[in-house]
Assembly symmetry: D2
Homo-oligomer: 357 residues x 4
């Protein structure tokens, strides 16, 4: 249940305050020249303390490869890796040992397992997503070898929305600002919004948009493992995610079929569609157009303000957490969204080798 | 890739105009007294020709069990079943043999497999969902034995939205009208909207809401197979679905954490939450509150009006489909949403047996 | 748990006296021209009543394809099929309803599931292997398209052993006699031995040898899914099988390393080995030499003579089964061994597409 | 492909001369009090340098747990662990970089992956089995909590065979001598035989017998995942294994059904069998009797004497390996056989929770 993927499979391990976070990637083909810098770069985009609008915890988040890579090349054998924990303040959590923090996993984990590593959220901590960023950064390199790129960006923070379509924006500017919204004007407003939340010791949610360019027609499986179903599953597995839509999404439900259908046209490139309400996927299979989707993140649950709750013995109590926390998870979640999308697409690239005799 | 589920697994088969649609359920525990009438009842809710706002095709959609059930009881062995095709008009599709219908899977299947059964959409036809309704109806019976019920209903058709929360409505009235919206007034408007689409030889999309009551705390897996990730995956695998959200969903992204958090309270029943923005799921694991979610359906692609497109040889052509088609898929999709949710929950019920030593 | 294979996957269904036996093959690539006659031919090699040394039950064992094949070609979609039961004498088994027949699955099924379809052994009947023969016959066609052939033959019946190595025999003569031993002289003795057992209302076991020619170097997985581990798993899943060995097998354990090692030599064909104690597999991966192995079958448990046993209520009783049974399962098991080997090899052929980037 | 098990799943990683060997165990239930000493004890039974008849390499083989265990208890979350490599002499292998050693995996890995970590056999090294011993030692603790024990022992070395049945021997004496044969007299002969092989710079094979006591009736799956098929798959995945048989095995093929059948009898304990040719498994499911089986190991391929072979460029060459190697793998393989059996049985224990509603 801690494995993601069908052919390119990540099994992740680790708790927030344990020895470290890591994983094993099984099914990565042999012969890929790994660029470790690119992996480390995505880790830096995810890591805490990277800007004034993220938590100020300092973590090096340096990946160490334990197997499967030899002389810089993948060997076809399992790629194990770890990011050792360093800056853990486990004692900060002693008071929370028996507390069920509101909208956290404390209560549900206890009900499920009868036991729980309470330090820093244990296994339920978003620190686990480090493993996904590493595996995703490798998947990106597989895709890049096929001319496919993935780019995510923050398109909403609280009520602040990026109004333009991704097709009207230069996505290469995403990392030019600390909130990772490629439109500088909107980015500014988003940063102000996050700073207001932080000042208020509160948090704020938002939306990340993801775009994959260069996906060839024919990827995805017809029935259950539709390309968008696998993408949705991947995104909904990220901490704090509450919704997923692709192409026209929830808005498209209001259209008529005649407005919504993407007419096929003849081009010098072959068959294309005039519009892309389909989000690049028809019948669950890519059609060669851009694949794009939106991911909803709730405001994270850890507030640095007083809240009422109950504890393990069903006593009503008041908590007032201290520590270093993110007022808004979205800027740091951009590489996670990209990583999950990359793993899904790399998986379908590999699966597509099996389509025909 | 045609198997759904981890423990309770459905492998489905069949094409729209082939011998039939069916599947094998593997992993259904032994000793369940199967109520075949309940299964047939859900098939009747899905079947075409059931009302004036659905396609007028007549299909009996009678399930035949081929194995795994003996003297009315599941045996623990694979439950195979089939619904034989009967009212297929395969010749209606001869003209479409080489055509790529807009927003259909014709083009993408051809790109994937190099070959395609064009009759009635072949494997990409929503007729395949019959298999899911059968398996889901069995999953419902497993859940019922644990006091869990699942109810879906149409909460939006085109721009017509049900304004009330599900908690304010009597969900048992869902099947009292042909559109399957439990609020009679809204139902009326929805029916009118669908009839307008039909008259216009067009189609219309919408939203289905699903609610599971009685799910105990502790179901779901912590990382990738979060309960809502599995639900989302299930829903996104249904034909025409474009989005999924649970609990506060996309709207919740606009809230502050202090508004969004569900405060735990002490009750005579044990720990409960004051609000349910979490949709009954925290950290991917059920917390004992209602699990609820929304599923976006695009307007279906088959229009009975002229549309431009291209064919297999990249010729620009005009099509004008005939036949019997649904102007709106939502009323018939209600049992499919329930079926998929039931399979996910039955799976997590079984998985929950493995949590502790 | 009723699915076999990783990429090319058979999920089988059916009980001995139910509606029929069948399965779904998922993961068969699109574009294979299916030769149904070849499938039916293997079914004929497995079917009862084919000669004087098999059971005299008459079953047509005609396969019907329900999906996944269109205009003679595989579609990449699930291939469902069934062989409908016809000549079942369910009443023959009424007396055995509560009886635990010695060395049968009656007792263990009851302990596992709490319920049991007692008619003809239910799911534990070797009639289930029909599904494997169909899937295996398709796998053989995939392999044939790559120049790979699989041939099994009876190499031992009771104490009668074929003394020659398979390399000294013309395997194409296997089906020239009813016992399926390619050496006519040994075949004669085996037939006599089986007739003696039948006359004595008893049964006799034996060994089947399998050989795959043309397997290229590089198939198999390094650690758990070694090519021979997958073959062994496949064979041990056949009813009545008690052992599996490949290459030098149990005999090889008596040799020194210097005697056992297969020296590599340089040939015009590239690297070959001088001897083949490795059975064509080194480190779990094929090396281009013949893959060969031996499968031990116990004497089947159904005797037409009096035996003491107990029943469900722990009463000591005596049974004296009637009916039509095989004195020796081996001649009919030859196509089953081939089928399982073919599925394993087809799976590894498909997996081998994923080795390198 | 580097994952073993269905519910209790080990994914292993590591190469002989890489950073270390380890794995992730997913699916281990929460709440098990882990006895680390017992794990370390099995590692000591596997480790090199433990006696005069094993390789003289010194490796500490100390396990470090990286996740999933908190305050001595399993958490239900993935248990990651590593054994860091220390005493690697990678330079010993420089000369072998391009050489295909006879009956090793050098050639087949190169054909499969196009690349290979040649140092110490890389991934194909039996050093990988450390991961299995750790996971198996945890599985043993799960089983012990259910009163089940597993004991393996060396029953043959070269032509020296233990003549007695395991039922006539005190298995608790297995570890009393360095060859791990519970019969002191036979053990003596085996040690002499191994010393002779070592002196001759050669190697010798043999057989390990495994016995599981206390397995309740009802474990195993009816068709493909028969309990013995899973055991056979597990054993055949161990380096150097060439064959597997259970119960009466290959010898049983020579018996008549009337000799072979295990008659059920009535006892104060309930239903038992008079004999146990079935090896505790009938129809693939345990019947409550002892489960026992035999595993054939070839003489290992690394000889410290001159051998002819070819290299990557198809040149004929002569090699004369140096280094520290085992003349006989069997004494060190005893805990590996136990570990694999324990994982299979723990898996079926967990699966058995899913049999009935």
């Amino acid at each position: 249940m801690n494995t993601f993927g069908k052919i390119f499979r990540l099994t992740s391990f680790g708790e927030s305050h344990g020895r470290g976070i890591g994983g094993i990637i099984d099914g990565c083909p042999a012969g890929l020249d790994l660029d470790i810098d690119l992996i480390q770069k995505d880790l830096a985009r995810r890591k805490p303390g990277q800007s004034k609008i993220t938590t100020q915890r300092k973590e090096a988040d340096q990946v160490e490869f334990l197997s499967g890579v030899f002389e810089g090349k993948t060997q076809g054998t399992p790629i194990a890796f770890a990011i050792w924990n360093k800056d853990q303040h486990s004692k900060d959590y002693n008071d929370l040992k028996d507390v069920y923090r509101p909208s956290h996993a404390d209560y549900t984990y206890t009900k499920k397992y009868g036991t729980r590593d309470h330090r820093g959220g244990g296994r339920s901590s978003a620190r686990e997503t480090i493993a996904r960023v590493v595996a995703g950064a490798i998947a990106k390199q597989i895709l890049a070898s096929r001319g496919i790129s993935i780019q995510a960006f923050v398109s909403q923070v609280g009520e602040i929305q990026l109004k333009k379509s991704y097709t009207e924006i230069d996505l290469s500017k995403t990392d030019d600002n600390i909130v990772r919204c490629p439109d500088p004007e909107t980015a500014e407003k988003m940063i102000t919004r996050i700073e207001a939340a932080a000042k208020d010791r509160d948090t704020v949610g938002g939306v990340i948009t993801g775009v994959a360019k260069g996906v060839p027609a024919g990827w995805g499986e017809p029935v259950f493992n539709k390309l968008h179903a696998d993408l949705g599953f991947a995104m909904l597995g990220i901490n704090a995610v509450k919704g997923f839509e692709y192409g026209s999404g929830f808005e498209g439900t209001k259209l008529s079929g005649s407005q919504h259908n993407d007419v096929f046209i003849k081009t010098s490139d072959g068959v294309r569609t005039k519009t892309n309400n389909s989000g690049g996927i028809q019948g669950g299979i890519s059609n060669g157009e851009d694949v794009y989707f939106r991911v909803a993140f709730k405001p994270i649950a850890t507030l640095l303000k007083e809240q009422k709750t109950v504890d393990k013995s069903n006593n009503e109590i008041t908590i007032n957490p201290k520590g270093r926390h993110d007022p808004c998870v979205l800027p740091r979640a951009v590489p996670i969204v990209e990583a999950m999308a990359a793993m899904v697409l790399a998986d379908h690239f590999l699966l597509s080798k099996l389509n025909t005799i």
